[in-house]
Symmetry: C2
Subunit: 327 residues, 2 copies
């Protein structure tokens, strides 16, 4: 089985890379920027370079879908880079190509707030894609960098789907009808996403789950079953949003960046300001087999389980990261 997790942001360490190895995780899309500017993001990429150099038996840089298969063969984990916010490109569309050359394969057009490109899901008003946003979509299409709307608002997301010539992704979110968090996605968004061959990665971040930390594996898998009926199982994958070993200062950075002097608790609260506790059945990278068993027990066929656990992302990567096949 090929295992792909299409979103993690851990406090990376040899321990976690060993867990990825033990859990036979073949590819992980990792976040390399929340609010970082260009230079700060480059520093984050430099850190990854030192990890690739230090742990060559555990991890390798992922640039194409073939790297997932190579990682599977070599018993390594291929690491694919992504941004949760367009802050790394600042006001410069040329930085998209620079970052694509450096291996960045996903970029969210906005993270909770209004960005220079699109609106985030916590804003009151969503005027849709900006002029820069429309240009960025076109350039990302040209380069083979995936538009990710996980933290974006409704109208901006629908417009991104419409403006993009290539399928987009919501790498880590769940259906709003299952758990009505601001971060989860409407049926209309999921329907237009998947009918245009876009992918949804299911999140296991407790604030995105019905019953939060107490959400059962059964409930999570039933949600996936229902989504498969509505949208087709081949447009579904995992984007766990696992934030392992992070101090709570990091969730504060994710939520507040440098944009507010006041605390913003995001999906948390003053009483529960830190990272929420993971469900018992998904604590780290060794737990993917539990999830695969849960999907089997929910009635998915072996090929459907393989698709959701990784192969659907492999196919999506194959069609997304190169020069547009229409050209």
């Amino acid at each position: 089985m090929i295992i792909v997790d299409n979103l993690q942001y851990a406090n990376w360490s040899e321990k976690i890379f060993l867990e990825m190895n033990k859990g036979s995780v073949n590819a992980v899309h990792v976040t390399v920027a929340y609010h970082e500017n260009f230079r700060e993001t480059i520093l984050n990429l430099e850190k990854w370079n030192t990890w690739f150099e230090r742990f060559p038996k555990l991890i390798m840089k992922g640039m194409t879908s073939d790297d997932i298969l190579l990682a599977h063969q070599l018993k390594k984990t291929a690491i694919f880079f992504g941004f949760q916010n367009p802050s790394p490109i600042e006001d410069d569309i040329g930085l998209l190509e620079v970052f694509h050359q450096l291996g960045v394969r996903f970029m969210q057009l906005s993270y909770n707030n209004q960005s220079l490109l699109a609106t985030g899901c916590y804003e009151d008003e969503d005027p849709g894609l900006t002029r820069f946003g429309v240009q960025a979509v076109k350039e990302m299409n040209r380069l083979g960098m995936v538009i990710d709307m996980s933290h974006s608002a409704e109208r901006s997301t629908l417009e991104a789907i419409q403006y993009s010539d290539r399928p987009i992704a919501i790498t880590h979110a769940n259906p709003h009808y299952w758990h009505p968090a601001l971060r989860n996605k409407s049926h209309q968004v999921l329907s237009e996403l998947t009918s245009s061959n876009g992918m949804l990665g299911f999140s296991i971040y407790p604030h995105h789950l019905k019953d939060g930390t107490s959400c059962s594996l059964k409930s999570f898998c039933e949600m996936i079953s229902e989504a498969a009926l509505k949208y087709g199982s081949d447009r579904l994958g995992i984007g766990s949003d696992l934030c392992q070993d992070q101090p709570d200062s990091v969730v504060t950075w994710m939520r507040t960046g440098r944009w507010s002097k006041e605390m913003d608790y995001g999906e948390g609260s003053a009483e529960n300001p830190g990272f929420p506790t993971q469900p018992s059945w998904f604590k780290d990278n060794t737990d993917f087999s539990i999830l695969a068993d849960g999907l089997s027990n929910s009635g998915f066929s072996p090929s459907e389980v393989n698709g959701i656990m990784g192969e659907n992302w492999v196919k999506f990567y194959k069609n997304s990261f190169g020069v547009c096949q229409n050209e």
Copy 2:
């Protein structure tokens, strides 16, 4: 015949790319930074990305020696990036790998002045490689980025040759015994460079030539003949230092950067402050065949001419740009 010019810094335009094409120039090492800092250098790389996008039938990005052969086959010119100064990496050794990933294949450790890494050829004192310089040499060796000492001072150059585990290059300079300019290189440097399998690229920049602009093709080729006797013809190539279509403000930038409020005329003078006029036999990229004929007329065999005109650089690129073969 494969033609490689291992140093140019033109005011790039379609006109020049067409001349490269007409002249069957298969590869050019182009300067992408003189005194630019990290962000400014990235902007220069962005400009190259737009040229690659606009002129795909004329130029292509060069990353490996195979790209020269591909360019030859496709009748294009492969463009290889290099820095004349370590200013783009600022104080951050991690930027070497970032730039290597972006295609930078040559870096001078200093440009005329003292840098953070080494001493330039116009300083009065040369204390040799700095602590940062020693680390940078090691990292460049690991990555496959060539150490270029064209503008460096004597001791620093000899130390770079000694510290480097891989052959280095002097991409654009001539022997000091032929024309005693500060920028030209001593017999000791050329001897240690070539005996460690390093390469010398002969410059056709008038200030590096005996008799300047009036230097004859015959005199230039006789210099190469003498160097071939001393150092072996297979360590020799061309690094023309052609600065075509540049306004004189650019030579001021090259000489003075942001480091002086006073004018520094470098190899020029108050009476002759601008770019010097090229010799009649080498004005642009269509003139390499004249040079090849000059070498033949000087008594070089066809295989020696092929080596000097490009194949020696191809072999050097092949051994220089990948992970060290000793590993």
